[in-house]
């Protein structure tokens, strides 16, 4: 089973407590704090002046002026930490198959700082005087794209944005790709910069401590931090073969949802207990075998009361013996990077047998009598370290790392199988209709669902048409208490989720609620909310954020609402990898079922359409004026739209056991990426084609077996051409091809979900939806398009394409269930 064991062979870090592992660890062991008065953020209107800032920091020492013009702080941090980690690992990427090396990054903000600059230009100078190149490196996934480009990776690439749990979650998701055999090396970690949005937001919640944070003792609030932590995960046998120094092993990780409250943790820590117990069990350990706990330890009263309680419950009578500390006391809370920074700290603790301290600890009476390693580091054998990250949206993540010992038995490596994964419930809301029946009718008729935009004034823009939110009797699908205080993204997600649960006839009960996972994929997230908060910050001030709205600004807010609305308490995560988000969420759900970490997975993909989105894309010149013509020679760009899809995934045996109707079988997937250009994709479609080939191979099929390919083409000649080449190269010309975007518009992260709905329709009804507005197909390849009218044809197997700007490709493969 050595090919399923994963070791850590390199680490890299940049945070307030040090640039580079050496400086970071020296400071950490000495109990030196990196928290000082902030210099990059105007704190005058805020509760605090303090932050864990990377200072001094001279980006020019690392990057060329040309790079710096486009690269914001997140990308810089991530690249610096990644280079250090790779160097330490001794890996030579030129010597390994680039498709077998991938990357998963956790982040809350990604390239938001570039967005801030753009936003200010937009507000103060007007859209025509903004610098569009800022937007190329603004999407949340661009730091991952930068790192990938730097290192020349072509394997699975993904971005997790589960707020403060993202870093830990990203390490785990990266490990999943190695365990599943999809990659041999994964670069994993997290990054986040200090940003006005986080300061103003946490300030509005009164969650900031005035003085540097004092976790587990004074607990007066958090101190924000920034930075990046990167770890190199490698298949054990390969690391051994190349004689790498093994720093530690990834034993297991687990996720859970509180389904308790949008921001507050469950006070009894029930969700935290599930993620801790789950990861300990998967690692084949008894709680008493944990040597060190790196706590979430934010310093807020809510966390610092509930986390020790949960720890005590998990560790039982061993709790007071097992040391636990919060390194956030020295680094500040690095949000999406926190779990990664703390993961690096755990690797060092394991390697050096030193427990990092909780500094600023001022109590003679430690809460619940636990050992918080107060103020001074100390020596102790650290065989196994457990690291916790808990977040808004009730997302919990725990990872267990240990010294590499060959005799360890890891139950999780035994649990993995390749079961048949089936789709048993569908839900959707989009301009194409509410519910599968309406959407399929739209597909069957080849209906153009895009209209002149009336929601806002479009005179400043070139593009005039888009997809409006359909009329939905929201109350039928969404708890009224939620309806009042939520944004359109959450509405789309919750309504589709409800439909899929109902359609699949899956009743969520106490007995199964912890076994149902929920994975969310969104390309642009709650952009409307983020824009309005940011606008207030820019125009009114840092202390003008509405505390009721800020929690909706995290990318996983909608996922939290879904879990809360339907009491889903199993593993939960949010993928924000641009256009491949829904597809990647389906991949994640598939892997959770393979690892038997859930009985059923609800996968939801959703994206909004709003004015800021139109403005940005319009400025980039990627939009058509009024018609979207995928694969057509006259195509001039995309039209934007909104929508959501939800899918209930189960293993075949559980679906059959409860007599569920089966729409189709998820046969496999392929994930690749390119290094062509930030914000662009390789026009040759080389890596895209490879993702299609991988999916076909995964499904045990041959290219000729694929009857229908639901394309991601969106009317951008660059994308359509690349995809056409990819399909022709991977599947040949026999496959029927069409693009749902021609009817529904481009919904960013939702693309793969809409494609899957089309594929399931084709499989179930023998009707392939058409590509409309297709008069003169592009000449790149002689593909068989389903032109303008739906086509009757038996479809046994279908592939679904998706791509993300920045060069990320996910292909799904589904088949008729028999």
């Amino acid at each position: 089973m050595s090919e399923k064991r994963i070791v850590i062979t390199g680490i890299g870090i940049i945070c307030a407590n040090g640039i580079g592992v050496k400086e970071f660890w020296e400071n950490t062991v000495r109990g030196n704090s990196g928290i000082k008065e902030a210099t990059t953020i105007d704190t005058t209107a805020l509760i605090t002046r303090y932050a864990g800032e990377v200072n001094p920091f001279d980006p020019a020492a690392y990057f060329s002026p040309k790079q710096l013009r486009r690269m914001e702080r997140s990308a810089q941090f991530a690249i610096i930490a990644a280079h250090e980690a790779v160097k330490m690992s001794g890996l030579d990427f030129s010597g390994i198959d680039a498709y077998r090396a991938g990357l998963v990054l956790g982040t809350s903000l990604g390239g938001l700082l570039n967005g801030d600059v753009f936003h200010k230009q937009w507000i103060y100078r007007g859209l025509p005087k903004t610098r569009p190149s800022l937007l190329m490196s603004y999407p949340i996934h661009t730091p991952a794209d930068w790192v990938s480009q730097e290192l020349g990776l072509k394997g699975p690439r993904s971005v997790i944005s589960t707020a403060c749990a993202a870093g830990t979650n990203a390490i785990g998701f990266g490990a999943d790709f190695i365990r599943s055999g999809k990659a041999d090396v994964m670069i994993v970690g997290g990054v986040d910069p200090l940003a006005p949005l986080s300061f103003a937001g946490f300030n509005s919640l009164k969650a900031l401590a005035e003085k540097p944070c004092a976790p587990y003792s004074k607990s007066e609030g958090i101190t924000l931090g920034e930075g990046a932590g990167i770890l190199i995960l490698e298949r054990l046998d390969m690391a051994q073969k190349r004689g790498a120094t093994i720093l530690a092993e990834v034993l297991a990780y687990e996720l859970s949802a509180d389904a308790y409250h949008p921001t507050a943790p469950d006070p009894g820590g029930a969700g935290a207990i599930r993620s801790m117990e789950g990861s300990i069990a998967q690692a084949g350990l008894e709680p008493g075998q944990i040597s060190y706990v790196n706590g979430h330890g934010t310093g807020t009263p809510a966390n610092d009361h509930s986390e020790p309680k949960a720890i005590k419950k998990v560790l039982g009578d061993q709790a007071s013996r097992i040391p636990m500390s919060s390194t956030k006391s020295m680094t500040g809370h690095c949000l999406g990077a926190a779990g990664a920074v703390e993961g690096v700290a755990c690797v060092l603790a394991i390697q050096q047998d030193i427990l990092p301290p909780t500094i600023n600890f001022q109590s003679d009476d430690p809460p619940l009598g636990l050992d918080y390693v107060p103020n001074e580091a100390r020596s102790a054998v650290v065989d196994v370290a457990l690291s916790n990250s808990f977040a808004f949206g009730g997302n919990n993540a725990t990872i267990v790392l240990g010294k590499y010992r060959s005799e360890r038995k890891l139950p999780i490596t035994q649990a993995i199988s390749r079961p048949r994964v089936v789709i048993t419930g569908l839900g959707t809301v989009s301009p194409g209709g509410v519910g599968k029946a309406e959407l399929w009718e739209t597909f069957a008729q080849g209906k153009d669902c895009l209209n002149a935009i009336t929601e806002f004034d479009v005179t400043p823009y070139n593009s005039r048409c888009g997809g409006s939110m359909p009329d939905v009797a929201w109350k039928k699908y969404i708890p009224t208490s939620l309806l009042r205080r939520t944004d359109s993204l959450s509405k789309l997600a919750v309504a589709a989720a409800r439909m899929a649960l109902d359609d699949g006839n899956l009743k969520v009960r106490r007995a199964n609620s912890e076994k149902i996972a929920m994975i969310f994929g969104t390309g642009t997230g709650p952009l409307q909310t983020v824009e309005s908060i940011n606008r207030d910050i820019i125009t009114k001030g840092m202390d003008q954020v509405n505390p009721a709205v800020f929690p909706n600004s995290v990318m996983n807010a909608a996922a939290g609402q879904v879990c809360l609305s339907f009491s889903l308490k199993g593993p939960t995560s949010t993928i924000t990898a641009g256009g491949v988000s829904a597809s990647t969420a389906l991949v994640y759900g598939y892997e959770l079922l393979c690892q038997k970490r859930a009985e059923a997975v609800l996968v939801v993909g959703a994206d909004e359409f709003n004015e800021p989105l139109l403005a940005g894309n319009d400025r980039l010149g990627v939009l058509a004026r009024d018609i979207i013509r995928p694969f057509d020679q006259q195509a001039e760009g995309m039209l934007l739209s909104c929508g959501s899809t939800a899918f209930l995934l189960e293993r075949e045996e559980s679906a059959r056991e409860r007599g569920a109707a089966i729409y189709g079988e998820l046969l496999g997937y392929g994930m690749t990426s390119d290094n062509y250009k930030i914000g662009g994709i390789n026009p040759e479609g080389t890596e895209w084609a490879e993702s299609i080939r991988q999916a076909v191979l995964h499904g045990g099929l041959a290219a000729g077996d694929i009857d229908f390919y639901a394309a991601a083409a969106c009317g951008l000649p660059l994308v359509d051409g690349a995809e056409a080449r990819a399909v022709a190269s991977a599947l040949g010309n026999g496959v029927m091809v069409s693009s749902m975007q021609s009817m529904l518009g481009y919904t960013s992260g939702g693309t793969g979900g809409m494609g899957l709905m089309a594929a399931l329709m084709a499989i179930g009804q023998g009707v392939i939806p058409p590509s409309i507005h297709l008069e003169n197909p592009i000449g790149e390849s002689q593909l068989n398009y389903v032109v303008n009218q739906a086509m009757r044809k038996t479809v046994d197997h279908a592939a679904i394409g998706s791509y993300s700007f920045g060069g990320n490709y996910v292909t799904l493969l589904v088949g008729k269930y028999s």
């Binding site: 006070p267 009894g268 029930a270 809510a302 009224t480 208490s481 106490r510 609305s565 009491s567």
Partner: protein, 362 residues
């Protein structure tokens, strides 16, 4: 009918009828019991509450149609307070609906028990099973700033994790028991529902464990001031012949809900408007203000007193008055004719700040 705990709370001279139930009105004295609830722990025998079990395939749909709040998303182990109306929009009862997943339990005030049960049976359909389990279970309540600490003594479940209106089923000394975070006084409040025959033993343990918290047995009477102080609806007192807009109980109706019995009627009431409204008032302790006393502005009668109690925390008389809309606002000084004119002040709720609000469990 009599609670299995009645004799443990008091003797026959202390009994009063609440609906068909004989209950203990006062155990020691209102003052002592009030002190226990507001500062320590008061232990109540709530066995007289009606307990109606609703099961069957369509239990949710059935109840959803009968109650004024949306219970579709009421999660298992959660409860909701709501009204039940008849077709004319008149209140049948105020009820607490608890979702046990396999069934729902509808808790009613003792005085509304029969009426609610009759109404529910009348509305029943074939996929719904309605059982009155009132006499099978006793309910012991604990209310007061320290009641959560006392509750924790009896159960392993981390009591701080139990959200407001949440409940859980567990075992106590080998017996099934339901612990619900439900109360009426705005202090921390919990209810234990247990088979009738086990209840005396549970009470005994609560009393023993309650010693350090200065827990005291309380009767029903002390609820009047305690509920009024925080404007916890006391339907019997407040609704009496009034429509629910006048009684300011419309917050218990979710008008966003598309369908429930009585919806059209109450919407109609709302449209027709109302001339008078309920508002709170305080008066000096020595003014002997009573139900029905006229409230005047100069020589004009502008309303009547609905009820009045002594508020221990305020050290004043506290009451509700039904006033012409013009005067139904807080912050006015009016006169009450209570055997001679005395000044009263209209005030806004809550009229006191319960101690529990400043005690954080975590």
């Amino acid at each position: 009918m009599k609670s299995p705990l009645a004799t443990l709370f008091g003797n026959s001279t202390q009994m009063e009828y609440l609906g068909n139930y004989e209950t203990v009105a006062v155990v020691s004295s209102i003052e002592q019991e009030y002190d226990a609830v507001r500062n320590h722990v008061g232990i109540f025998d709530f066995s007289a509450l009606g307990k109606i079990k609703v099961s069957g395939k369509c239990a949710m749909e059935y109840l959803q149609l009968l109650v004024t709040r949306d219970i579709e998303y009421l999660a298992p182990e959660k409860s909701a307070v709501t009204l039940m109306l008849d077709d004319a929009g008149q209140v049948v009862g105020m009820v607490t609906v608890l979702n046990f997943e396999e069934y729902y339990l509808v808790e009613t005030w003792p005085t509304a028990h029969e009426k609610v049960l009759d109404w529910m049976r009348k509305q029943s359909s074939e996929d719904v099973v309605i059982e009155d389990v009132s006499t099978q279970y006793a309910i012991i309540g604990v209310e007061g700033p320290q009641s959560w600490e006392l509750t924790q003594k009896l159960v392993d479940f981390e009591i701080t994790s139990l959200p407001y209106q949440g409940f859980f089923e567990t075992e106590w000394e080998g017996n099934d028991i339901v612990v619900a975070r439900i109360g009426y006084t705005a202090e921390y409040g919990y209810q234990f529902m247990i088979r009738e025959e086990q209840a005396p033993k549970l009470l005994e343990v609560l009393l023993q464990e309650g010693v350090p918290f200065e827990a005291q047995l309380c009767g029903w009477k002390v609820l009047d001031p305690c509920m009024l102080e925080v404007r916890q609806p006391n339907i019997d007192l407040e609704l009496d012949q009034r429509n629910l807009f006048e009684a300011a109980l419309n917050w218990l109706i979710d008008f966003r809900k598309d369908e429930f019995v009585g919806r059209d009627a109450v919407l109609n009431m709302k449209e027709q408007g109302f001339q008078r409204s309920m508002v709170g008032f305080s008066a000096p302790q020595d003014v002997n203000v009573r139900e029905g006393d006229a409230i005047k502005v100069e020589d004009d009668v502008v309303g009547q007193v609905v009820c009045a109690v002594n508020s221990g925390v305020l050290g004043k008389k506290l009451g509700l008055a039904m006033l012409d809309n013009k005067y139904a606002v807080s912050g006015l000084e009016l006169a009450v004719d209570a055997g001679g004119l005395s000044a009263i002040n209209t005030i806004s709720s809550p009229y006191i700040l319960p101690k529990s609000w400043s005690i954080k469990m975590i």
